[in-house]
Symmetry: C2
């Protein structure tokens, strides 16, 4: 009975993360250049190996922490990449994740094993293996997701202004929105709480700061799939 298990081939399991950040103007990706010993000086996604007794989600979070020093961040499984020769050294199945982090939180956490750098999603270098395809897919998925879920907040600091949020969505979709319509729509979700402070410095007038109503936010997220929807069909 258990010979069925013995007879099967085993694979290395890697976890690679597409790490999105937003600097106020552009959507960015955090890429690493691994030490020379490994894959020369090709930029690649942040990745690592699954440990023997580790959950795959936990492993992705661990690896992300090792690079950025950040924990408790938005991390979603993207897809498995399992072409047989994707890694020429040895058969490896890679589970790709995408992460949304607030660039301001990522304050020069220096990784000693990796050289890390933010790249604009508009001009990325050539990436290792199939990492380029992973990135394309992740951008599509981020867009898809952002149309349906109020996911964008994950990329901003705790307090932010509506113009900042608009810039973020404009960067995600690579387009422009009308600010009157944008603010009306965003406020109609009731997910934002207006604070008494204004952000100063960026503009002369200053803009009101908002924070996310976390309870509402979670509610929207969890109940999202239980409705009868109105996209293509309903």
């Amino acid at each position: 009975m258990l010979e069925q298990y013995q007879a099967q081939t085993k694979c290395l399991v890697a976890l690679d993360s597409i790490i999105f950040g937003f600097d106020g103007e552009e959507l960015k990706l955090l890429l690493v250049k691994r030490g020379l010993e490994e894959h020369g000086d090709t930029w690649s996604l942040m990745g690592g190996w699954l440990r023997p007794h580790e959950d795959t989600e936990d492993a992705a979070a661990r690896i992300l922490f090792e690079l950025t020093g950040l924990s408790d961040i938005y991390l979603e499984q993207l897809q498995v990449f399992g072409a047989p020769y994707r890694d020429p050294v040895e058969r490896t199945v890679s589970i790709a994740y995408f992460a949304l982090i607030n660039v301001a939180d990522y304050k020069d956490v220096i990784s000693h094993t990796f050289e890390a750098q933010w790249f604009s999603t508009q001009e990325l270098p050539t990436l290792l293996f199939d990492h380029g395809r992973m990135v394309e897919l992740a951008i599509d998925r981020l867009r898809y997701k952002a149309t349906q879920h109020p996911i964008g907040f994950e990329l901003l600091p705790d307090k932010f202004t509506i113009p900042q949020l608009q810039k973020l969505y404009e960067a995600i979709f690579n387009t422009e929105f009308d600010k009157r319509n944008f603010s009306r729509k965003i406020l109609s979700t009731k997910l934002l709480i207006k604070l008494d402070e204004k952000q100063k410095g960026y503009s002369k007038k200053g803009a009101y700061l908002y924070k996310v109503d976390k309870d509402e936010y979670r509610k929207v997220f969890d109940t999202f799939l239980n409705f009868v929807p109105n996209g293509f069909m309903a």
Copy 2:
């Protein structure tokens, strides 16, 4: 340099498919009871092992073919399930896929290694390992997807009627729609071509048969992510 690879642990990689079907009334799942030697008489998803030089997508399609005799069917990666002890026998990472098949095409392809049976999604048996969670996730995903993509056609025969399609969507969302609004909306997509035939037998009057405009269908699918959308944001 390559010791990095040697030092890593390897896992078994399984592929498990959630196979959806529609019988005209209910949304169904095809489950199998593996031979007694293996996991007793617990119902489970159709699954198998990744072969040494096989792409993961190909493997999922192969396993599906082995059970159903069907090829070239809708198959989408759902998620990896990688909890360390999910399979008590040996560490196995499972890639879950969901498949949409037209029940009428699956005409008693008898699997000699497996006992297979359709179950209503409303009353499923207890499933092996974490297969129950996979199923829940797959149903959510099918709903999500069906709101955005005209994916439902995959579950119907080549020629179908609008009332049939409506029943299908009602089964997917477990709700009811107004038939006037439904047909207006479905026809507004321009994805259906009305045929000159009527389906007889089911109703006295008979209903017009339609087929999918495959070119349009592909177009919609491929371009779907390139628009600026109107869900939560845009």
